[in-house]
Amino acid sequence: MFVRLYLLLPLAMALASLHALPFVPRPDRLFGAAVPREIRYGNEGRQALRRYELRLLPWTAAALFASLWLPLSWAVVWADAAFLIPLIAAGWIFSRRRTEIRRFALPAPSTREARLTDADDRLFRQGLLFAIPLAILAGTALYLYLHWDAIPARFPVHWGANGIPNGWSTRSLTGVYGPLLLGTLIVLFQLGILILSSWGSRRSAQNPAVPMVLIVIASVIATAFSAAGLLPLHIVAARTLVVFYIASFSFLAVMIWFSLRRHAETAAEAGEITPEACWHGDQFYYNPDDPALFVEKRIGLGLTFNFGNRGSWIVLALTLLIPAGLMLLAFELTKG
């Protein structure tokens, strides 16, 4: 029951986010096209939104229904498929609506505006808040250090579905502090993403609430890795973990909702304008004359790479290589 709930909760949130997708970008956008307000909130806009919702509903309903009834032993397959199939369907339905609405799109203005301020988007203050997840991990490390003698020479770190331990670790630096090290690297990676995205994108493209969402995610990750880090001394009950995840996901959902609302409000006055000719297949932005590493996605939510900038390729390589390196490290740490 708890395992199914554990799988269903994030799935339900992900499917709900697919339905919410056209409503969250800034108010002057509809299916990725900048349109006049009378279209966005008029008959054409309402009809396009209704068609999107109605066509997506059978896919998401089927995914949820299948997740409720399919056996847990197939979870590896359906947990992924239940999101991926509706995601592909949503992408297709979205692009169809975009084609419909594009004829109302406003031409991109030739004027550009910038504020003459040296303020760096409160980046430093927001970066400091990353001290919260790092402190959670550091506190756990300190606790383990102070209780080092109480740690058994060999302790379980993984359990099978039947509740019997099937993975063990030893009282060594990597064995005890490994999960905390991994958690710290993941949190630092997130901090790096925040700094790079703020540094390399226009202010008008930035969602001011994203750092807060990232800090909440980092804190959830830090707590989860701290729980794993405490395994040598305390085994956290599966029930406690499920409650923790439900609380975390719910809190995260609220944060994301507020973030998106705030974005819609603050971004109302001036959205980012990128030349139409630089978009290829509506997804890939290539503009060697634009110094931005990241630009706002066509959908009006989130950032994407400027493939015309060499720096973007370096960042892209890092964002692929670092997680791969972290996975390798996790594998090495859990091997023993």
């Binding site: 030739s110 004027t111 550009r112 505006e113 910038a114 504020r115 003459l116 301020t117 040296d118 303020a119 760096d120 390399g200 994108s201 226009r202 202010r203 008008s204 990128t274 004359d289 634009d290 110094p291 931005a292």
Partner: protein
């Protein structure tokens, strides 16, 4: 209430080069006092990024304003507005140059369809602002 930083605007379709538009726009803020001595300006990278143009264009504009005595550009520091003492009086040649440019601008405004009355109102507004 926090003072909102002044904004500059450029038109990519304008026949006036981008760097010239930045210089003109910033000089207006400097003359009007929207930018005061000691104010820090955005870095070349940040301003270029916000306007979506190359770093060189913004750097050229900053250099031009520094040559005119408005900005202090020291390596490793943000461009800073400095206290500029205007020259005591423009030469006769310079004055006639400005007069020619004003006449050219009025001709351009008329060519773009503005009525003589609208142009006179605009010029009067500028003159009144100068006197206050």
């Amino acid at each position: 209430m926090v003072k909102r930083a002044p904004a500059i605007r450029i038109d990519l379709d304008s026949p006036v080069p981008n760097y010239r538009q930045i210089v003109d726009s910033m000089r207006t803020h400097l003359v009007d006092g929207d930018l005061a001595p000691g104010d820090l300006l955005p870095s070349v990278r940040r301003l270029a990024l916000e306007l979506g143009i190359t770093f060189n264009t913004v750097a050229q504009a900053y250099r031009q304003l520094a040559e005119e005595g408005w900005l202090d550009l020291q390596h490793g520091r943000r461009a800073t507005v400095i206290d500029r003492h205007p020259p005591p009086g423009a030469s006769r040649k310079k004055v006639s140059g400005f007069q020619r440019r004003i006449r050219q601008m009025v001709a351009q405004m008329r060519a773009e369809g503005l009525s003589p009355r609208d142009i006179a109102i605009e010029l009067r507004l500028v003159a009144e602002k100068l006197e206050t």
